[in-house]
Amino acid sequence: MSSGNRFNGLIVLYILIGLVYGMGQARAEENIDNFALSPEQLLDAKVMSASKTSEKLLDAPAAIYVLSNEDIMRSGATSIPEALRIVPGVQVTRINANSWAISVRGFNSTISDKLLVLIDGRQVYDPLYSGVYWDVQDTMLEDVDRIEVIRGPGASLWGANAVNGVINVITKTAKNTQGDLASVALGNQDRSIVEERHGGKLGDDGYWRVYGKYLQRDDGKTPQRADAYDGMTADRGGFRADWKGNDTARDNFTVQGDMYNNDTSSLTNVSTFTPPYSQTQVQNITARGGNLLGRWNRTLSDDSRVTVQSYVDYTARDQLSLGYQRTTFDLDTQYELPSWNRHKVIVGGEYNYAGDQLATTQFVTIPGTTIDIQNISGFIQDKITLEPKTWFLTLGTKLERNDYTKFEVEPNASLQWHPDEKQMVWTSVSRAVRTPSQIEHDLTLTAGIFPFGGGLAEYQLVPNKAFNSETLVAYEVGYRNQLTPKLMLDVTGFYNDYNKLSAIAFLSPNLSVSPAIFPLIINNDGIGETHGIETLLEWRAHDTLNLSTSYSLLDAHLRNPAGETPVTSQGSSPEHQFNARALWDITKNTEFDTTLYYVSSLPSYNVDHYWRFDVHWGWRIINGVQFDLVGQNLFDGSHREFLTPTSVNTTEITPSIYGKLTWHF
């Protein structure tokens, strides 16, 4: 494994350079006496990265990881999905320049349906197939405050689809994005990304911002070295305003919205009724959308508050085999009751409506022209103090009613023990469900055409009105230890027991029609278990050097009756994932960051294991002007991350380099 040796050599080199400079820096650092500095100097000082371990992280009985704004900026990622690569236990696979498959704890697929993704509380998964179109989930990364990732079921709080995990993207408040920011990035793959944001004050106690972003990404190459036609151009814009109520400081209001326009393309196989029955074509994909969200938060007493949030979201997507428009309306309330004895109770309710207008194409038949789906849910959670500061028991459940499967109950129980302030042991049992998608329940799709007995036949996916929710019972155990103020360890183990997993079955063919129909149906015949371990070690080795490493192991055993195929096979997610990251402040004005990733093979897709190495160098030229140079996926040449070489939309992932200039003014 020659690439491995090269990496070893490089790592040694970096460590050596790090030590030499680290020692020089150490002396300089120790000379700074924060009590001898003037208030001007202190307020002008740049805040260094601290250990990421927030109290919140240490307190939650769940596998939570928080990706801070600094993590995102220093990772060099130019999109939300790419930034998620750092998160322990999250599998990010890039299919091509504009699409990704992302999952947590297995079941990775282009339609990863067991993951709930939220942006500022707005659900962005697509009820057509319960997955996420990552190409349109974007904003100015500078304005992302943090991304919270929960591995494991978050169902008792978040509800359906929060089966294997929740990804919650949270943008900064308008107060924290005052002034102007403009940036230009130019590179070999990210050809150009231009951003501009302006923030201002709104009366005495309010703030607002607007932003705009344009990006253009280049075409990649297919595994056969041909043009992959997967480029992308997109423009987006949005605003956010936060203000406080007039009569009382207890009210906080937020109104925000975004609009986007995406033009992408990809290669796709199109079925035809004439030979050769399947043709590779370039399909243009246009996606447009917008959303408007309002939130009101009132503090009722010192430990009690109520939040009401509502949004509308419009999304339209046109591609060769599929076209739809969807309007979503959501109303969400949450009430945190005052502590009562040993109980801390939170209750909430949510109503969600999605109205889809689908275009009937040659390959998709829908019942009627619209599909309306409503979902009503409520949850209650009680955190019970068994022994102050030491033992806590959290009991919660979500009850929801959806149009497909009617009532679903998603309970959770977790127990946490804090032997001392630095340590926490937790365990939890939860049930979660993944409710049916329109593809499984409503649509008729042509899946392929082939010559048959002198005529033609077609594979047809037929709707299954009896399709039920996939269910999970998850058992988790975790341990966190802030060993020293500079060293943090987080270990989680899980055992997931799945039932009613989706599988594809053949029904008896109908040969009396022309073309003959070989019907396929998605049923609930699959079962299986996954188990694994996720570890994270963060070490602030020096004031100028943060190191972290994570490793996750996943073992999946999925089964279905003979003759049926699982929708997502066990070999679609890597057994081992590893990353090691070094964030190094070389001087007050320069930072140098490197991340090494290892992902083991995907037997289902014939994808080999691969190493990935990313480098970011940042230089603050003068106050308010920063230059960043980023190299991603260096040293590897090229590799596929997902799907078989014959999947025509797959591209080779090759080195990417870009430079970026950012002004704050």
């Binding site: 208030p39 805040v47 009382t248 230089w619 260096l634």
Partner: protein, 189 residues
């Protein structure tokens, strides 16, 4: 491949070469510190640039007592303040966990983990010459005197002028120029 490696090395080593140029040219222009280090430094500066009324209960004691309500969130960064002096008075650091302990404090920093205690604390500190400081959001809006915020990569300071004035404290011009003044609506209206 060899070409690529060479290219990559240039990309990664170039920055390292820039460092020497960097540190000499801009070495002492900017400071970067840990968040808690900056905040601890600012607390010390508050003692210097805010005048307490001469008749305040804590003005004439030989020591200035700085209190942290709840656990000390400053890691090791606040401790060195003990033993320093301000206006010829030595500084003492105490962590307090009950409201009754705060009467001796000239400056009270409320750990954000104690946010839920704040409505009780403020009832007690109102009318006393205790400078209240914290870093949880809306602290200044809910009657606190100084709130630490964060603006991009810098710490910012929000000053509740009304609360400070009511407590007969005076903020010197030099500090005043650096902070953002907030006017929270009057409570209990």
């Amino acid at each position: 491949m060899a070409f690529l490696i060479r290219k990559i090395f240039l990309v990664t080593l170039l920055p390292l070469l820039m460092i020497s140029f960097q540190s000499s040219a801009y070495g002492d222009m900017d400071i970067s510190l840990h968040e808690q280090e900056i905040k601890a430094g600012l607390l010390y500066n508050f003692l210097k640039y805010i005048d307490w009324p001469p008749d305040s209960t804590t003005a004439n004691s030989s020591r200035v007592t700085i209190c942290v309500f709840g656990d000390d969130p400053f890691n090791e960064y606040l401790k060195p303040m003990e033993g320093r002096s301000v206006n010829q008075q030595g500084i003492a650091l105490v962590t307090v966990h009950t409201i009754h302990e705060v009467s001796k404090c000239r400056l009270l920093f409320v750990n954000s983990s104690q946010k839920e205690q704040w409505p009780q604390i403020i009832k007690y500190t109102t009318g006393k010459n205790i400078l209240t400081v914290s870093d949880f959001e809306n602290f200044a809006d809910s009657g606190g005197m100084i709130e630490f915020g964060r603006k991009d990569e810098h710490i910012s300071v929000y000053l509740n002028m009304g609360a400070v004035t009511t407590a007969h404290m005076h903020v010197q011009e030099r500090l005043l120029k650096l902070v953002t003044i907030v006017h929270p609506p009057t409570e209990g209206g």
